[in-house]
Symmetry: C2
Subunit: 196 residues, 2 copies
């Protein structure tokens, strides 16, 4: 099923490349974050990649837009460079965001986090958009795909000792029970709170 096969390709084609340290010159995520903290004089309280999995499958290009602008993109982590399938020096990098709690800027309480959306879901969303079918009939289907992607990815990650403490999956509904669009910055702050 699509959700499940996307989870395998996301793990082997990406997470397995950016997360683990493998005992050679390539830094894993944890070490990459430590270097970032010291080079930029900041603190990243939870040294993991938070992966956003919305039931709508839609993730905006910049997460600022999904956070009522509580989030602001910061300088990125160092890229991982690796030859892959004939693309020489292919680069992979994770984004760093600052969260301004309650949207308040100009104070010292900003929280740094390494986070991004699960890109295969956005790509699949675009594939559905381009198929000539009525995209509202896909609402339930999209939620099933998101769910199966989430469960499969969670299963894969739990079975990989070198990756499981380096990422956190956030599976969420885009709209709350009052029909208001959720603020992913609030969700991330809660997750971070739980872990510090």
């Amino acid at each position: 099923d699509y959700g499940s096969s996307m989870a395998y390709s996301y793990f082997y084609g990406y997470l397995n490349i950016v997360l683990p340290s493998v005992g050679d010159e390539k830094k894993g995520l944890y070490e990459n974050i430590k270097v970032y903290e010291s080079q930029n004089g900041v603190e990243v309280p939870v040294k993991k990649l938070f992966i956003l999995i919305p039931t709508s499958l839609h993730i905006p290009p910049n997460l600022e837009e999904a956070s009522y602008y509580w989030m602001e993109s910061a300088k990125k982590l160092e890229s991982v460079v690796k030859h892959r399938a004939g693309v020489v020096h292919r680069t992979y990098h994770n984004s760093v965001y600052k969260i301004h709690p309650r949207g308040q800027r100009g104070n010292d309480s900003k929280v740094y986090v390494i986070t991004e959306g699960a890109t295969p879901l956005l790509t699949f969303y675009e594939v559905l958009e381009h198929s000539d079918k009525d995209s509202s009939s896909y609402k339930e289907y999209k939620k099933e795909i998101a769910g199966s992607f989430y469960r499969t990815l969670r299963h894969i990650i739990r079975s990989k000792p070198e990756c499981r403490d380096l990422c956190e999956l956030i599976y969420y509904e885009d709209y709350d029970s009052d029909g208001k669009k959720v603020n992913i910055a609030e969700i991330l702050l809660e997750k971070i709170e739980e872990q510090i």
Copy 2:
């Protein structure tokens, strides 16, 4: 089916991002190649991306290894930078290779080509390798996946006027009828000959 869904995701998540020019500052592949030619004083006779689709699904990290070293990686094309699903400034680039016909270096006959393997197939190959099944029982299955990926991708590209003249799919068996590993440089040279 897997081959077909991989082709849709490869098109919408990658080819549709790197190939077309869209009338804004982002250069499409054709313009990117023209800029490369003038900046490096070289000629790229066929201004397309050649995508390699082997029935084994296995593509080495650097294509030099699949060409009896007739091919040598050259400086890459300029990257396409685009925010995507929360990864800010995600980069995509195509690799340029020089082909030394008959493996002979030190003469003027090298041929420049933009080429790479179809990455989702390699990722899928790795997924199969990690599943605890006997990977030899997958040989026929892999060929079916490669075939369905090829046919679906060919169908998608033919329906996209802004992409179809910018890439060429090369679907091939890794070993010839004598059991000798094919030389992808020879295959590429033949394809280039046909078009100039």
